[in-house]
């Protein structure tokens, strides 16, 4: 269930009832973060960090805003920063770089959805997760990612194309190319 669906069941005020907010959004935030970083252990750490940051900033939350979108803004920024740090670590310190995920995870989790998500860059992945999983509106996604709604739409459209290609059977592709 996405954040959009959750919104109809009533809003939680982070300032007055943070424990309930955590209970309600813990899994959604974890899954969204994992959808972006594609590493289970890192996603748990980043989810914990998301809620810690949200707790510190809970009095800044604007009444009437969507708590789900607010949490996702913090989570997505943390996830993208994490991937950026990982990329720098891979480039600068290739010998010291240790990925968070285990080989078991790499093999087990390569389902269709993960294969499709893995084909995308982090920015496209964030749009896909926020749109298809968290079910946020284009305007909410544009505010989270600080890009115009048109950019969100074009990223979503190109992400779908990349995912479609990633899931296409290579054997079928070869047949089509041959004919």
């Amino acid at each position: 269930m996405g954040v959009g669906a959750e919104r109809t069941t009533g809003e939680v005020d982070p300032a007055s009832d943070f424990d309930l907010l955590y209970e309600q959004f813990r899994l959604q935030v974890y899954r969204s973060v994992r959808g972006i970083v594609l590493e289970a252990a890192a996603a748990e750490d980043l989810t914990q960090e998301t809620f810690e940051r949200a707790y510190k900033a809970r009095h800044d939350f604007r009444a009437g805003a969507s708590p789900g979108a607010w949490l996702h803004r913090i989570a997505v920024n943390l996830a993208i920063s994490y991937l950026r740090r990982q990329r720098v670590a891979r480039l600068v310190l290739p010998r010291l770089y240790v990925p968070h995920h285990t080989p078991h995870e790499q093999i087990e989790d390569r389902t269709l959805a993960v294969r499709a998500l893995a084909a995308l860059n982090p920015k496209h992945r964030a749009v896909v997760v926020l749109s298809f999983y968290a079910r946020l509106t284009r305007e909410e996604i544009s505010r989270i990612l600080k890009v115009p709604p048109g950019t969100v739409a074009s990223r979503q459209s190109s992400a779908m194309e990349i995912m479609r290609k990633a899931l296409a059977d290579p054997a079928d592709q070869r047949k089509q190319e041959g004919s």
């Binding site: 813990r26 899994l27 748990e44 707790y55 510190k56 389902t111 499709a116 999983y133």
Partner: protein, 95 residues
């Protein structure tokens, strides 16, 4: 034959629904292993730890005092300090 823009829009919508189903059904199966079910902010943990640290230090201090009193250590410690003070004093200058 040219396709109507409405047909394109419908096709896009259908594709979005397919991706939503595929991605959501997969992601809904993801469950964290270590993430606590109750929120424990860092601040709360630190306050809790600090309180425990104070209690432990107090208990250690009391235990040390109890041992010192039962073994008569304060008396010997006091006499040692007096001896040290005497040694530190400059010798009397002969008149």
């Amino acid at each position: 034959m040219q396709q109507s823009p409405f047909a394109d829009e419908r096709h896009d919508q259908e594709e979005e629904e397919l991706w939503t189903d595929l991605i959501s059904s997969e992601m809904d199966r993801w469950h964290p292993r270590r993430l606590p079910t109750d929120f424990r902010p860092e601040g709360r943990i630190q306050r809790f730890n600090r309180r425990w640290l104070l209690l432990i230090m107090l208990a250690l201090l009391l235990a040390t005092l109890a041992i010192a009193l039962s073994t008569g250590l304060p008396r010997s410690l006091a006499s040692d300090l007096i001896d040290l003070a005497r040694l530190a004093q400059p010798p009397p200058v002969p008149m």
